[in-house]
Amino acid sequence: MPDKIKRGDGLPPAMTRLVKELSRLPGVGEKTAGRLAFHLLNRPRDEVIALAESLLEMKERVGLCSGCFGLSDTPRCAICDDPAREHDLICVVEGPADLMAIERARGFSGIYHVLHGALAPLDGVGPEDIKIKELLARLSDPGAVREVIVATNATVEGEATALYLARLLKPLGVKTTRLARGLPAGGDLEYSDTATLQSALTGRREL
């Protein structure tokens, strides 16, 4: 007779669904997802509503800044809109997490350009796959930009991107610099500490 019994996971379907959604998150397995679901079940209603609403709000409002292509919930981000910043000094980074790391280091007073990737010949990622065209557009106004600091990672892809940008920008007469070496080997900017980043910025050299 046991064959006739419908066996699930012992959870009401509404919870099974939440566990399934949570376990899609990076680093979250089914067990962790189950624990999180039980935790949320036992929290006050308004706390759970706040979480659900913040998820939706983030998804609906956060897009890319039309100036630097960093994350922003307004058409232009707070950095691009800040008149106190040096708008003729652009720091080029691979991703939003790198922008955040440099902002945390507090040593930089210019604005940014987020490429959303790096040249990766072995993965077939070429110049047209990242926001290089958009960077050139920002430099099309002669004299508008004094210096471009290339702050891509100290990896093969990051170096390839920096060398490629140097090739493109030199003929435009824009001073192009690269962060000083000293980023950790394997070189993800977002994992660098503040002091390392600050000295990499001040020690930048011309490409």
Binding site: P26, G27, L119, P121, L122, G124, A160, R167, A185, G186
Partner: protein
């Protein structure tokens, strides 16, 4: 637990796996092509002082697992291996990427490949020292094809054996014949053929016969020679190599050096 093994190796490709791990494919000197997982590779600068990214030349320490084809990479050290430095020049990165991708395509997992390791490491070291040149690209392609069992013939007609020197104004590279045919024999090669000048054919013959180091000092074949090699490679590799488009944009086939 399986015993720890070690071998010199060159990283062909690597990608982040979880938050901290990397999955790496290497060409080893002693065990052929090998893929493995390096746990904590992004955090441990001590165990992975040899970076696990393309072109890295490392002493690889690993343990085999009873099931599954990924080995556990326990350490990677620069040891006293000649370092490969390509990150100061776009052309070096482009040609180096192509070299590792072609090697990856021609080598199969766990088949002995000591000669391929020697060809790749020598070529990458030369590339780092002397920069990207058509002669180095052509020499590498010919050597690696030879290793994979595709010895191409350029110094005489594949059908009548007439030497390329005396073949007249034009030869034809025929992919299916693995070499050139002369004008007279061309009608007997139904596959047609791609025109190549005797000068380019002879340049490829010289480069193919010399050591890698010596070949780089030779003058390269012209664009027709480069295209012949590219067509042959295209016919034996079952997928389009991703790095070719980038390489061609930085360093066109058979033309002068980049920069």
């Amino acid at each position: 637990m399986a015993a720890e093994e070690r071998t010199p190796a060159i990283v062909l490709r690597a990608r982040d796996y979880s938050e901290s791990d990397r999955i790496v494919t290497l060409l080893t000197r002693d065990m052929g092509k090998l893929s493995g997982i390096a746990r904590g590779a992004k955090a441990s600068k001590r165990r992975f002082a040899g970076k696990l990214e393309p072109f890295s030349h490392v002493m690889l320490y690993f343990r085999r697992r009873p099931l599954g084809h990924l080995v556990f990479i326990t350490r990677a050290e620069p040891a006293d291996l000649t370092p490969i430095r390509l990150d100061d020049d776009l052309g070096k990165i482009a040609l180096g990427s192509y070299m590792v991708e072609l090697t990856d395509a021609l080598a199969s997992e766990e088949n002995e490949a000591a000669d391929a390791y020697r060809i790749l490491s020598t070529a990458l070291i030369l590339l780092g020292e002397a920069g990207p040149t058509p002669a180095l690209r052509q020499a590498f392609e010919l050597k690696l094809l030879g290793w994979a069992g595709f010895g191409l013939e350029f110094d005489r007609c594949r059908l009548c054996a007439a030497p390329s020197e005396t073949a007249g104004a034009r030869l034809y590279f025929v992919v299916a014949r693995g070499g050139v045919v002369c004008t007279r024999c061309r009608s007997e090669a139904p596959e047609g053929g791609f025109p190549i000048s005797p000068a380019s054919a002879l340049a490829l013959a010289r480069i193919g016969a010399a050591s890698l180091e010596a070949a780089c000092a030779n003058s390269p074949a012209g664009a027709d020679g480069g295209v012949s090699l590219a067509r042959f490679i295209g016919s034996i590799v079952d997928r389009r190599l991703r790095s070719i488009e980038f390489l061609d944009s930085v360093m066109p086939t058979g033309n002068g050096p980049s920069r």
